[in-house]
Amino acid sequence: MVTNLATLPIKNKIRELRFFAEEMTQQELAELVGVTRQTIMAIEKCKYSPTLEVAFKIAEVFGQSIDEVFQYHSA
């Protein structure tokens, strides 16, 4: 079912990582990962939890491990 923004358990610091990666745009990250810009935006806003594959690809783009990019906060 739909999970609202406040209760989504997976948080991330993609916005921050993009900033430190020479202000990489959402479009650039989307192209590197192979998803749409809207999906990157939804992930950043914690409105969508990506699959493991996309999560690994995002972490790889920034040269970080997956748990440095994504954090699971149980309720």
């Binding site: 192979g34 998803v35 749409t36 810009r37 809207q38 999906t39 409105k47 939890s49 699959t51």
Partner: protein, 156 residues
């Protein structure tokens, strides 16, 4: 509003389905009271017109959308689009199955009680069984599109 290519495409399908088949069902409802043969012929003409229009509108508008978003059209559906499509299909399928069972129930009841055939409908719509099935299909499509748009807007 920030919409992906897929979301825009779903909006086109939803709006065209609601407008074209909404108009179709309103016209079919207004046929009650006409002589049976005239009503059947008119209903068939209306259904052919609706079918032609939906194909035409979809081809034109989806084509225009794809032309103006070549890159996104080439990329196709990503994992988020596929997830929402899957969820939409689930909801739409449920509605379709309910419609099919209602139609089957009607067929079986009329088969077991042939005396009801003349008085089986208060609507007096021509080709009523086919229209119940068609309405179920169109309604399931609307539910499918609406569910996907709901997830795009509210997130998952």
């Amino acid at each position: 509003m920030n919409m992906s290519f897929k979301e825009k495409s779903i909006w086109i399908s939803l709006v065209s389905t609601v407008l074209i088949f909404g108009d179709y069902f309103i016209n079919v409802l207004s046929l009650s009271g006409l002589p049976a043969e005239t009503a059947k012929t008119t209903a068939l003409e209306l259904s052919l017109r609706a079918l032609f229009l939906i194909i035409l509108i979809e081809v034109i508008f989806q084509g225009m959308l794809a032309t103006s978003n070549r890159k996104a059209a080439k990329l196709g559906a990503d994992e988020r689009d596929k997830l929402f499509e899957y969820k939409g299909n689930n909801f739409g399928y449920t509605v379709l199955v309910i419609g099919v069972f209602i139609t089957l129930g009607r067929i079986v009841i009329l088969e077991l009680n042939p005396e009801l055939i003349g008085q089986s409908s208060v609507l007096e719509i021509p080709l009523l069984t086919a229209h119940i099935l068609l309405f179920s299909f169109i309604f399931s499509e609307i539910v499918r599109f609406s569910t996907q748009l709901y997830f795009y807007r509210c997130g998952h």
